[in-house]
Amino acid sequence: MDPMTFSIIRHRLFRIVDEAVITLKHVSGSAITNEGHDLMVSLYRADGTLLMGGVGFLHHLTSAAEACKAIIRRFQGQIGEADVYLLNDPYTAALHTSDIYLVAPIHHEGRLVAWSACFVHVTDIGAMNPGGFAPQAVDIYSEGFSSPGLKLLDRGEMRQDVLDTILNMVRSPEMVSLDLRSMIACCNVARDRMSALLTKYTAPVVDEACAALVEQSETLFRARLRALPDGQWQSRQYLDVQGETARVVLTMTKTDDRLVFDFTGSDPQSRHSINCTKWAALGGLFAPLFPLLCYDITWNEGVIRPVTMIAPEGSIVNCTRPAPVSVATVGAIQSVNNAACTTIGKMLAASPEYRDQATAVWHANHFAIFKFGANQRGGYSIGILTETFAGAGGARSFADGVDIGGEIPNPISRMANVETVEGAFPIRYLFRRRAPDSGGPGRYRGGTGGEMAIVQHRAPAGGIDYVISGKGARHPMSEGLAGGYPGAPNSYVWVHADAEAAPGSADRLETIPGTPEPVSWGVYPLRGQDALYVRWNGGGGYGDPIARDPAAVAADVTSGVVSARAAAEIYGVALAPDGGADSAATVALRGAIRTARLAVPEAAE
């Protein structure tokens, strides 16, 4: 087809997604959507296959395609113009119940020609714990409202009985209503703009361009795969929760222009809500694949075709009903994200041409903490601690990871200002900063994670409560690459205040007066003078830490993100009295580390 028209239609599809995202954020005024960018909007072809994926939480692009297909199957023959469908059942297509998909057909001259789909993490879904993540859930039935597909708008008209039924089952119906309205507005914009495009260029021309776009992505992606070395790469992720460790094992095999992701060997499904369904696992491996391998290729069905997933049924990455999954997005799905990032990174690092695209794992472990309670202004507040979106960049083959730099599956998140949180909740931060020694050591250091502590402050009810789905405090999860070390694990500590001890201006965990107790899973209070301390993981390192430029290590020590002890023991860098690296002593230290390594017999694995 005419390359100029093709280029213009492609750009316009891109803009349609962009405009729909803006609309969604505008209408939903919520922090999780606007700060966390915990959302997704994409366009799909008439058969539900992905046409144009937007920048959002990327593990939704393929799951929403499955949602479109599920709606097509269920409503075949009854799909009307301006209908809007809702789907949030994880065993049908969704990731977990609180990430609601709205799926809307786009018609032109009476014919169904495309779909738009979007999601937001709604404020509440009626699960046993507020906020959507339900650490105490024992099965899908305790995780709130879930639908394998229902018609929410019939030819543009809201089905009020259906809406009222949903709102009747959630804790914060006004906020959920607004969440749904934001998605409806988003569907409307996508449909209007697509209609304009179809009118201007005609349906056959647009359809030809869409087909060409999918074909182009497939051609380009297969060519890229052929340019990469054939081989097999592995990653193991250890996910601990409540003292139990679940393993996600991934073997990625690249042959010619095909990729197979095989999760054989992963642990059976857990009794905790960290499991994910197979559609979620598929989304989880594509989330890093799109930006790592297809950064210059349109994200659509063409990228999906060369990829096969094998996920054993009944495992933690393909659980069977009624296993609970409400923590999946920050549980097994995130482990899949990490494992895929690692296997792809290993493959890229094995290619001289693509080595500069390789990255160690970024932010490997969300800590989902929803705080709720009466606020200092006479109202009630509920919301996520947005620091969970702040993340940490993995080290790259040419540079350190970005400190508190976000994550790959959701490339454009951000966290709220301290003043924003303190204005909305009766809490006060004691500190919030980069966490020392959290970035995975390496020739290039992983970006640091962060650490923070909060206390209640002038709370009318004496405090607030929080739901925590914190896992990963035992094993590091952000793997290093090419000899780099992993980033430090998460840490969650409830500091019980001693009688009359005030936290004052404590600026480290160690200086908060009281008795620390690790917490991770469930609902807890934050009252009196007690403090909640959270440290989140750093990114993985790249390359051997004893190959790191000693001056860079010394600079890290000066700025407080690497301790002198880590500098000596891990990086083999001795510091001079002026804070710079002592080169002679460093050579000696590194020599000793090499000798010690060589003395170790061949590793058991």
Partner: protein, 714 residues
């Protein structure tokens, strides 16, 4: 327009320093308009300012000193602050902040500072993204014990000994020349920051200090601190620059006042502007929007899209109902700051933009890479070898190879054709003309998409707007993309080449004051009035001190409101008479609700949660006399006296090259009408018209393009 000067004649001189050119416009008290242009001369911008004024004076038959001696007011805008930040040429700066939050500036609210300011293509490639190199080294950030809470109450008193030690450390050990101070909640209770200033003045007198509570007294510690840092970083350069310029002007005999343009489109006396460096960021583009607003007001158009396209960027601002739009999250380089700033959105698309075919996707594209002024487009023959949009314009007949810059250089058509053929046409399997036409369509589509984005995003419909086209490249595209957007009219103003300078002389003095406080809408009106009364008292004293008498003072109230538990705040003008009564306050809330739905879409209002006021803003204006533009009588429509010839040009309406008529702008007379396909060559640009377009020169010598075709396929 030149006249015999007589002694009482006096002048208003306005000079805008842009990235490439320094433009001057001189208004005589006789109504005469004179234009000057010189290259900008970073970092010594004053040199270019004098050269630019000189270049306006010479054709007037005046020396620089003569002109300045007769100048009663000098209005100025400059890119000095943007330049200092972009080239990292500012002061060595330190930051004193609340203990425990020393990383706030560098951590940039997580990934935000890593992706903000990037293109969507770059955002999709996170492995290749990093934060911008910071203006303050992390080692030059010191935390001191102190804490204020969300009510403005002190939780932990300021540790003054720690402050003294911090200042010594920063100045003596780190060698800083400027210190920014930013504490949590300081906008509610600035006492701790104020005390730090006193200590700095004792311990290290002469250090440049910026307090966050002074420069940006609003919530959001990351953005507020970043604002303080930028201001401290560029502060001394700005002050020295304005002081130096004033002394150079006065050495040349200028005895009047100097007013400096701010990013929000108002003027400040130079002495005040000198301490608010952040205010000057992007003041040139802001002036451009102000100029468009002035012309819009003059021509009776309240809704204007102001588009400026030069060599490297396409910039666009929007005026709706006579109101300006302000940026929500302004940035300079890739640093966030908080200051009222007119929203001007840009993309890397200009005459120098390189046109290429992506080797991976094989998609043709325009920009964002630019050949700049050097080596420039291939056709300039200055060594450029990558095809640019300007080369394409030459190939589709919009530029005359022999008449460029008045014939100063002969454009190399063969070179341009060869470059487009090998770099664009061959990879796509097209013939060079088809490739050039395609590139033109893509440039139109990109601009159309951008304008649609920034209008629709705010709930605006481009069909309600008039489009003003400024800059050297815009005229070649404006009629085409204006039609695709279905704007009412496209206007290429007579002053298009010096629009930013023109904007300077159409601005008022304006001071912006903000008080941050969260109040429910049931708050008694008297409480709101008291907040404004305090700000007004300060504002009136300030304006009076600047010589602006009460009858030229205007006080405009606005309030930021939001739905509780929502993040979007909307600045809503107070339309009711001040002081407010209960009905006036109710009207404010109604206006907010209407505005919110317009901006964020139907159904977005979340009334169930209630509404609260979060900030109270006062704009205190000192009205400046407006220049009177000369008006000419409109004559007959026949443009044949300006017809220079005919040649093949791109006519989008017919889809290919067609014979078009070529007109000389300087020979056109008001009332003349030119039908498309045609081009009009002006001294700085070309106006391209397609079949169905009609251009008329109006009584101010603006070119007004209307269309009778319903549709052009771009």
């Amino acid at each position: 327009m030149q006249k015999q000067d007589s002694p009482p004649l006096s002048y208003l001189v306005a000079t805008d320093v842009g990235g490439t050119c320094t433009d001057t416009i001189v208004f005589g008290s006789d109504g005469g308009i004179h234009i000057g242009k010189a290259l900008s001369t970073p970092p010594d911008f004053a040199h270019g300012v004098l050269a630019s004024i000189q270049s306006a004076a010479t054709p007037m038959g005046l020396t620089l000193d003569d002109l300045l001696a007769r100048t009663h007011l000098f209005v100025h805008g400059s890119t000095v602050v943007d330049n200092a930040v972009l080239t990292r040429d500012g002061a060595r700066t330190g930051l004193i902040t609340t203990l425990g939050f020393e990383d706030t500036l560098h951590v940039t609210r997580g990934a935000y500072g890593r992706w903000a300011g990037l293109t969507e293509g770059q955002m999709k490639h996170p492995v290749k993204t990093d934060r911008a190199a910071p203006l303050v080294a992390r080692e030059a950030v010191v935390g001191v014990a102190e804490r204020v809470d969300c009510f403005g109450d002190v939780v932990t008193p300021l540790d003054e000994a720690a402050v003294t030690a911090a200042v010594r450390h920063l100045v003596q050990d780190k060698g800083v020349e400027a210190i920014a101070v930013s504490f949590l909640w300081s906008f509610l209770n600035p006492a701790h920051e104020a005390r730090v200033r006193e200590i700095i003045e004792q311990v290290a007198p002469g250090t440049y200090v910026t307090l966050s509570s002074d420069i940006a007294p609003v919530p959001g510690e990351y953005e507020r601190g970043s604002t303080a840092v930028i201001n401290a970083y560029a502060g001394r350069i700005t002050r020295d620059y304005l002081t130096d310029l004033a002394s150079q002007l006065s050495a040349r005999g200028y005895a009047g006042a100097t007013m400096v343009m701010q990013g929000y489109g108002g003027l400040l006396p130079a002495a005040e502007a000198a301490d608010r460096a952040v205010g000057m960021i992007e003041c040139g583009p802001a002036a451009g929007v102000i100029g468009a607003k002035f012309l819009g007001d003059l021509m009776g158009d309240a809704d204007v899209i102001a588009a400026d396209m030069g060599g490297t960027t396409f910039k666009v601002g929007v005026i709706q109902g006579g109101q300006l739009e302000y940026a929500r999250e302004p940035m300079v380089d890739r640093f966030h700051y908080i200051a009222p700033k007119i929203e001007v959105v840009s993309i890397g698309a200009g005459g120098g933009s390189i046109v290429a075919v992506d080797p991976v996707t094989r998609l043709p594209s325009v920009g964002p890479r630019s050949a700049g002024a050097r080596p420039g487009p291939v056709c300039y023959g200055q060594g450029g070898h990558e095809a640019t949009l300007t080369d394409v314009m030459l190939l589709i007949g919009y530029m005359d190879p022999d008449q460029f810059l008045g014939g100063a250089i002969t454009l190399d058509r063969a070179g341009a054709a060869a470059a487009v053929a090998s770099q664009v046409a061959e990879p796509l399997g097209l013939d060079p003309t088809a490739a050039a036409i395609g590139i033109y369509r893509i440039a139109c589509a990109q601009i159309t998409d951008l304008i649609r984005e920034i209008t629709v995003e705010r709930g605006l419909d481009p069909r309600d707007f008039v489009l003003h086209a400024f800059g050297g490249t815009c005229g070649m595209l404006a009629a085409a993309f204006g039609e695709e957007l279905s704007v009412r009219r496209v206007i290429i103003p007579y002053t298009a080449s010096v629009n930013c300078a023109f904007g300077l002389i159409s601005a008022d003095v304006a001071h912006e004051y903000t008080t941050t406080r969260t109040l429910g809408t049931a708050t008694p009106a008297a409480e709101v009035n008291a907040i404004f009364a305090g700000m007004e008292a300060r504002a009136r004293a300030q304006l009076l001190a600047e010589g602006i008498e009460p009858h030229r003072q205007r006080m405009e109230w606005s309030v930021d409101l939001r739905y509780c538990r929502q993040v979007h705040e909307v600045t809503t003008q107070v339309h009711a008479a001040a002081p407010l009564d209960t009905a006036g306050l109710a009207r404010l809330v109604d206006d907010f609700e209407a505005l919110y739905e317009r901006k964020f879409g139907k159904g977005s209002a979340y009334r169930e949660a209630g509404i609260e006021m979060t900030a109270f803003r006062l704009t205190a204006r000192g009205l400046m006399p407006r220049p009177k533009l000369p008006v000419e009588e409109e004559g007959p429509a026949d443009p044949s006296a300006a017809l220079m010839g005919r040649r093949p040009i791109l006519d989008l309406t017919s889809g290919g090259m067609a014979v078009g008529q070529i007109y000389n702008f300087t020979l056109l007379r008001p009332g003349n009408e030119v039908p498309g396909p045609a081009v009009i060559h002006t001294p700085i640009t070309t106006i391209a018209l397609h079949t169905g377009h009609r251009a008329r020169m109006d009584r101010w010598r603006n070119i007004v393009v209307t269309t009778d075709a319903p549709h052009i396929d771009a």
